[in-house]
């Protein structure tokens, strides 16, 4: 019997692996409506409580200012919640032995790690778009001229978050560890990124922390896309470069944690 898979070129084989993970993860994701709802509930709740509730309570144009900051931040929150959820799935694959069984086969760990990350990226992007759509229904949308930039910002942020969270899922050894990593690393990265406040209006220490925070660049990209004014191309490129750099480092960490030990 011919070994049909053996003739595939590495790039084609990598495509098969990525497509396998995407299909599998999407199937599982769509069969978990509760998880999807849970991921949307957080951003929606904050939008209603802070953006609309608190904003209108303060009055005097505060609502507009708050919404301008937090709507793109909440899109980012949708992404972070989705990638956090995915990191738990990656952790489960690892601890159940499924990932090791696959690593023992004919595909390199780099391809496996990239496939897992791409799959998580697609799910996180769609979760981010779902928050975007909810906000748009409330009249908080991106101007059409910025749609492409918004999409690029969303995918870049989702890719960086997915790579970071998946690395944690692969490094954790116990269920408590993955939860602790998410609480100690991902939550601070998100909440100190400027997703829920205007970084430029905060005290210097917070501003410095935000500038050192890679998630800040993702949130800033999303905020730029939401801003109806002109885009600062240098800032966009700088933010995208930081996100790609973070993703590459996280992918290398993941590959290292999966390689033969």
């Amino acid at each position: 019997m011919a070994d049909r898979g053996a003739i595939a070129l590495p790039a084609i084989r990598a495509g098969h692996v990525a497509s396998a993970y995407c299909q599998r993860d999407w199937r599982v994701h769509l069969r978990s409506p509760l998880a999807i709802g849970g991921m949307l509930a957080g951003p929606l709740l904050l939008l209603l409580a802070i953006g609309i509730g608190l904003g209108s309570a303060i009055g005097g144009g505060a609502q507009h200012q708050i919404l301008k900051v937090i709507v793109p931040g909440l899109v980012g929150m949708g992404v972070v919640l989705a990638t956090s959820q995915r990191s738990i799935a990656v952790f489960s694959d690892r601890t159940s032995g499924l990932t090791d069984e696959i690593v023992a086969g004919p595909v390199t760990v780099r391809i496996i790690v990239l496939a897992q990350t791409l799959s998580s990226t697609t799910i996180a992007t769609l979760q981010g778009l779902a928050v975007f759509a909810l906000a748009a229904m409330l009249g908080l949308a991106v101007v059409p001229a910025h749609w492409l930039v918004f999409l690029i910002a969303l995918v870049a942020f989702a890719f960086a978050c997915a790579a970071t969270c998946n690395a944690m899922g692969l490094m954790a050894r116990r269920p408590g560890s993955i939860q602790a990593l998410l609480n100690l690393v991902v939550n601070p990265l998100f909440f100190l990124s400027g997703a829920l406040f205007d970084v430029s209006a905060t005290a210097t220490p917070i501003r410095v922390i935000a500038l050192l925070n890679p998630f800040h660049y993702g949130v800033r990209l999303l905020q730029d896309a939401y801003n109806p004014g002109g885009l600062d191309l240098a800032l966009v490129l700088q933010s995208a470069a930081v996100l790609i750099g973070v993703a590459i480092v996280a992918l290398l960490v993941s590959a290292r944690s999966l390689r033969r030990r």
Binding site: M1, D3, R4, G5, A6, A8, I12, R13, H16, V17, S19, A20, Y21, Q23, R24, R27, V28, R31, S32, T95, S96, G97, L98, D100, E101, I102, V103, A104, G105, P106, V107, T108, I112, A115, R260, R261
Partner: protein, 313 residues
Amino acid sequence: MTVPGSRTGATLAAESLTAGYGSRAVIKDVSLGVSGGKVLAIVGLNGAGKTTLLRVLAGLKSPMSGRVLINGADVYQRTTSSDVALVLQNIAIDRQLSGREYLEFAGRARGFSKASARSSVSEVIDELDLGAFADRRGGQLSGGQARRLQLGGSLVRRPRVLLLDEPTTGLDPSARRGYWAVIRQLASNGLTLVMVTHHIDEANLADEVLVLADGRVVSSGHPRDLVGQSSLSVVEFDFNRTGDAEAVYQHLGSEAADRTDAVVSVTTTNPAEVLSTVEKLRPDQDFEVRMRPAALDDLLVHLAKQGAGRIDG
């Protein structure tokens, strides 16, 4: 009959493997060899290094020294292996996917195109007789069905060498028999199989048994030959009082004897000496003595204990 995995089996060899964690060696100077169509069972007590050895053979854990060769090629000189498939002790299937979806994922995640994976999945379903539950979700399957599905996942990519880590754990006797029928069928179609097991009756079904104790090979050979070549007997002392049994057991030591309630059993090449020792310990002779030739499980436990004792000592 064509069974998935019916590519010609490869010869798997390990040469003087030493491997462990940090500077601590868990397996020490282990050599083995198994060719296509054969089943090698690795047995040993808990902590003997069986799973670590399997992970080294699978290419998942680099040895400190020694080599793993498949058809003469060093596994650790290559970044990937299309020859090896591994089935771990945990049931590593996706509970939210149907059996067919899981098998397709297993094939494609190992590099198959969708069309190739689907074709291979159909073969695996037919040959492992998974059709009755192939469209049910993993979470709805019994332990035996899930184990067979997991085995199917490892065969979709048609490996030459199949490594199994206690694959019948948690299965009832009937499911275990069914699983072993599949294992023997795979071997008869030429696949090379290495299996870690705790079940002595399973070791009996293998073509060769390798006994590990404290990371070292203390014996190997065909199960029948292992028993045939040994001059071991089992002497059982059935005491009237549990306290007497405990006293004798403490004197003989856990490396030489086993105790269950009031019965102390000793596997030995010199039953007369053991009898004399016990009679001196309990001159009232308030016990019954039974003697029988050692079976494979007695032999394996004896070898494992002796090996560990010798190495520790």
